[in-house]
């Protein structure tokens, strides 16, 4: 049995054959499409390591059945950098040492990109901490993560202002 669906992944339209209806979006990305950036930390929507953007919203891809997303736009960690030029959130994570082992990092970064787009956090570190709390970091890099999100948010806002000017 094979079911076909279409997804736009990191800007590339793709026709995807699903060989098993039980396949989650995370397992589709990792095991069938070779996009292993999103990580499986719990497979229960509890850790956030698998976070991707679907139609601009951050979701736990381990909880989404792939077939339920026909026609969706999916952005993964692999789709954030512009060639060798890092996305401001990626650069800020390096500058603020917002990771150690790196396993939760793709999820943290995608979650941060989603959070900034949601526009709810503002410049309040407490809001950022709360709204980034769906992404567990067992190494405890939270201080750097919060600083990185705040800085990247500012960089993106400045860039938008410059673009508008």
């Amino acid at each position: 049995m094979s079911l076909s669906m279409s997804l736009t992944i990191n800007g590339q339209p793709r026709s995807v054959a699903i060989d098993d209806p039980r396949t989650t979006l995370l397992d589709l990305l990792r095991e069938r499409l070779g996009l292993t950036g999103a990580k499986k930390g719990c497979d229960r929507g509890q850790c956030g390591a698998c976070t991707v953007l679907v139609d601009g919203r951050r979701i736990n891809s381990c909880l989404a059945l792939a077939l339920s997303l026909d026609g969706a736009q999916v952005t993964t960690i692999e789709g954030l950098a512009d060639g060798e030029r890092l996305h401001p959130v990626q650069a800020a994570f390096i500058a603020h040492d917002g990771f150690q082992c790196g396993f939760c990092t793709p999820g943290q970064i995608v979650s941060a990109v989603g959070l900034i787009a949601e526009g709810h956090a503002g410049a309040d570190p407490e809001r950022v901490r709360e709204l980034m709390s769906g992404n567990i970091c067992r190494c405890g890099a939270y201080k750097g993560i919060t600083e990185a999100v705040l800085e990247a948010q500012q960089v993106l806002a400045d860039t938008r202002r410059e673009d508008a000017a």
């Binding site: 060989d19 098993d20 039980r22 396949t23 397992d27 990792r30 095991e31 070779g34 996009l35 292993t36 950036g37 999103a38 990580k39 499986k40 930390g41 719990c42 497979d43 229960r44 509890q46 850790c47 390591a49 993964t76 960690i77 692999e78 954030l80 950098a81 890092l86 990626q90 650069a91 994570f93 390096i94 500058a95 040492d97 990771f99 150690q100 082992c101 790196g102 396993f103 939760c104 990092t105 793709p106 407490e126 950022v128 901490r129 709360e130 980034m132 709390s133 769906g134 992404n135 567990i136 970091c137 067992r138 190494c139 405890g140 890099a141 939270y142 201080k143 750097g144 993560i145 919060t146």
Partner: protein, 755 residues
């Protein structure tokens, strides 16, 4: 394994050295772009997926498995049970060296703990293997599970921790207690905790004849090869382990475990690559944890608040079939001066998976109890808890009287207290409130960690183009080995770090030793330093023998290696670049080797520890009894700091682990079944970002001329210690409730009259 791309480093100021600079991580770009490959990211052609079926009872035997149902599921290739498991060359019920525990590899139908593998299903897809494992529907003959102090079997252990003595006595305890004005005696409990590295244990195994390649996260890359080789009856050199990145380890990825061996066995049996990744729930059993402890502390206190006796006893839990006893009592051997110290440990057998080393094994749980007990003594005397600690400051190692190789703990106390604002703290509890009416409390704890060193080797190759290749099979589980070790090597080679290609984390490289015990940077670092110096010496020999070189005849005077050039030590204007020296010698490269080597006499003479002081502020809701940390300040002295940016991150992480220990994490066993009721990341509570509002780490300068030639101590574990006690003491200060069972729970505070 080389990094695929050179990552850009932030601008930094050179102070004539590479070490000491706050470089950003060399693996940073790979990690933020998703290109860093962890074990389960590997998908060799033809790979199968293995999923273990695990026991849902804690003790008994498996009486049936529906193998036919599993095999009938589309995509299932094989089901391995004790009935058809191919033989192994090593009996898994026998120990295999220090880190080779007795493990379960389907040797029989016995169940010794929950989540023990009882079968392995291998299929073409992960979905099919998962469904196949579910269809096995194991049936059991269960015996009552032993889950705690009431029903476990107590015994006198031969050793605790990794080969440590179960009893240590200094001085005369009875005399010390007799001399005391007051005796404080209390009991403390710490729960079973699970490492919960973000990356579940995984392996991708590929056989080629009697050679096997294992992609797996591993904290002891070379040492583990011998263990796997023993199980499969092949020479150690036939095993290649690739572990470029570990998604966290914390001690759980140094010891061989059953599921990974089963996956390797399946790959050999089926002649195809096999991947296995444990589920989160399956990590609560076969891959180690911090064993529960029941501790008793008895402190004798005499004039001026000086300790006259310190007695620390721990009952430490282990499995029914293997011994790893959390050496919690040992935490009292090193911190405070007392004329008499006695530490003792008793074992307790429970129906759990075998515990193992987990970030600061012994030190964390022992420090938790000791630091609270010390606070209780200060409280009993009406002394400020920091003042009491200073009154019992150890000027030499307690018990032995050995001098410290360095000890800037006084500076840690002073600097931490200053930054925290400790002065003016009311002595009595329940005296402070914030603007929202929450109870506020301040507490302090002393942090300490020893400085173990492990055997390690390295190779450094200076190349004709003026770059270097540096190699050691160390492991980066997040602590920053990719960066800090490269800095040490670059320093020794007299090169910029971006001129150094660094290979790490694959077992074919020189043995980098174990990433554990906070000793990896010192140990692998020393090997790299020595390899670098050896390469430079060989280069200097080429130059000093060459009449055409400005360094001709410099042999006895010596040279200085700096920024890719050798300079005469007595006349630095006479110098030559590495490129020129190698070109004229017609040499493509010079190769240096090195190993961890330090002065063993010094190691016996001097007592060597990293120290620190942690200050905590907590806020407790007086109506709900909910306690949250609002501020943590830690000041640590750990010898020479290789990379302050990464070291601060280690301290932050350690302090967060301390916060977690104090207020959040505990595995809870169902007494009826032995099952862990919270075996997931929602109910086994680890800190999230919102739990960590304000953290400060102070790197207190400390020079150490004896610990090793680099002056490096360890930083990975120390910050867990001290923090737990500081937070528990702050909870007391906020509420007046002394909670002696970790983690401090809402119900403990409500039961003590808060809320």
């Amino acid at each position: 394994m080389p990094l695929e791309t050179a990552s850009p480093v932030a601008p930094y100021r050179r102070h004539g050295s590479n070490a000491g600079q706050p470089l950003t991580r060399r693996d940073g770009v790979l990690k933020v772009t998703g290109r860093a490959t962890y074990a389960a990211d590997n998908h060799p052609e033809g790979m199968l997926y293995a999923v273990p079926a695990v026991s849902s009872i804690a003790r008994g035997r498996v009486v049936s498995l529906d193998v036919a149902a599993a095999k009938a599921h589309p995509g299932v290739v094989e089901v391995i049970t004790p009935a058809n498991r191919p033989p192994l060359a090593h009996d898994p019920d026998r120990k295999l060296g220090m880190f080779g525990f007795r493990i379960e590899v389907l040797q029989d139908d016995t169940v010794r703990y929950v989540n023990q593998p009882v079968a392995l299903v291998i299929a073409e897809t992960l979905e099919a293997a998962t469904q196949g494992a579910a269809l096995l529907d194991p049936r059991y003959e269960a015996q009552p599970a032993r889950t705690g102090l009431e029903d476990g079997e107590r015994y006198a252990p031969a050793a605790i921790g990794v080969g440590g003595p179960p009893r240590t006595a200094h001085g005369d305890l009875d005399a010390g207690l007799a001399a005391a004005d007051r005796i404080i005696e209390e009991c403390y409990e710490t729960p079973a905790q699970f490492h919960n590295a973000m990356e579940p244990h995984a392996v991708v195994a590929q056989w080629d004849g009697d050679h096997v390649t294992l992609d797996m996260p591993n904290q002891a890359v070379v040492m583990s090869c011998a263990g796997y080789a023993a199980f499969f009856g092949i020479p150690a050199e036939n095993v290649v382990i690739r572990s470029p990145f570990l998604g966290g380890g914390f001690g759980s990825k140094a010891i061989l475990n059953g599921p990974q061996i089963l996956a390797i066995l399946a790959a050999r049996m089926l002649r195809r690559p096999v991947q296995l990744a444990l589920t989160r729930a399956q990590m609560y059993g076969p891959v180690g944890h911090r064993g529960a402890t029941w501790q008793m502390l008895r402190l004798g206190v005499g004039a001026q608040g000086r300790l006259t006796a310190l007695h620390h006893r721990s009952i430490s839990a282990t499995s029914s079939f293997e011994d790893f006893l959390e050496p919690a009592a040992n935490a009292s051997l090193y911190v405070y001066q007392s004329p008499a110290i006695l530490t003792e440990t008793e074992g307790l057998r429970l129906d759990t998976g075998t515990p193992g080393p987990m970030r600061a094994p012994g030190e964390a749980s022992g420090s938790a109890a000791l630091e609270v007990a010390i606070d209780e003594a200060a409280q009993a005397l009406g002394m400020d808890p920091l003042e009491f600690r200073l009154a019992n400051y150890a000027e030499t190692e307690p018990g032995t009287g050995r001098p410290y190789s360095s000890k800037a703990l006084r500076e840690c106390y002073a600097e931490g207290a200053r930054r925290f604002g400790w002065a003016g703290r009311p002595l009595e509890p329940r005296r402070m409130r914030d603007e929202n009416g929450l109870l506020v409390g301040w507490g302090v704890g002393t942090a300490l960690f020893p400085c173990p060193h492990f055997p390690a080797e390295a190779r450094a190759t200076l190349r004709a183009d003026g770059t270097a290749l540096v190699e050691t099979a160390g492991a980066d589980m997040g602590q920053g080995a990719w960066t800090a070790l490269a800095q040490i090597a670059a320093e020794a080679l007299g090169l910029d770090p971006d001129k150094v290609e660094f290979h790490l984390g694959v077992s074919t490289l020189p043995d980098g030793g174990v990433a554990g015990g906070s000793g990896h940077t010192a140990s692998a670092g020393l090997a790299l330093h020595n390899a670098g110096e050896d390469a430079v010496a060989r280069l200097a020999e080429l130059a000093s023998r060459d009449p055409a070189s400005p360094l001709f005849g410099a042999g006895n005077i010596g040279v200085v290696a700096r920024e890719g050039r050798l300079h005469r030590r007595d006349d630095e204007t006479r110098s030559e670049s590495y490129v020129e020296i190698l070109a004229r010698a017609g040499a493509a490269e010079v190769v240096g080797t090195g190993r961890m080597a330090r002065d063993e006499e010094a190691a016996r003479t001097w007592a060597m520890y990293a120290h620190g002081a942690v200050f905590a502020e907590v806020k407790v809701d007086p109506d709900l009894g909910q306690a949250r940390v609002s501020r943590l300040v830690g000041a640590f002295a750990a010898g020479r700091i290789v990379n302050p940016r990464l070291v601060a991150s280690q301290y932050y992480g350690g302090m967060i682990w301390g916060l977690s220990f104090a207020l959040q994490e505990a595995a809870v066993a169902d007494r009826r079944t032995g099952r862990i009721m919270n075996a997931d990341l929602a109910e086994y509570r680890v800190p999230v970002n919102a739990d960590v509002p304000s953290l400060e780490a102070i790197l207190v300068p400390e020079e150490d001329a004896y610990v090793n030639p680099l002056g490096i101590k360890g930083v990975g574990e120390i910050a867990v210690t001290g923090t737990v006690g500081a937070i528990a003491n702050a909870v007391w200060h906020a509420t007046g409730a002394r909670v002696r069972r970790f983690p401090v729970r809402v119900e403990d505070l409500m039961g003590a009259g808060v809320g």
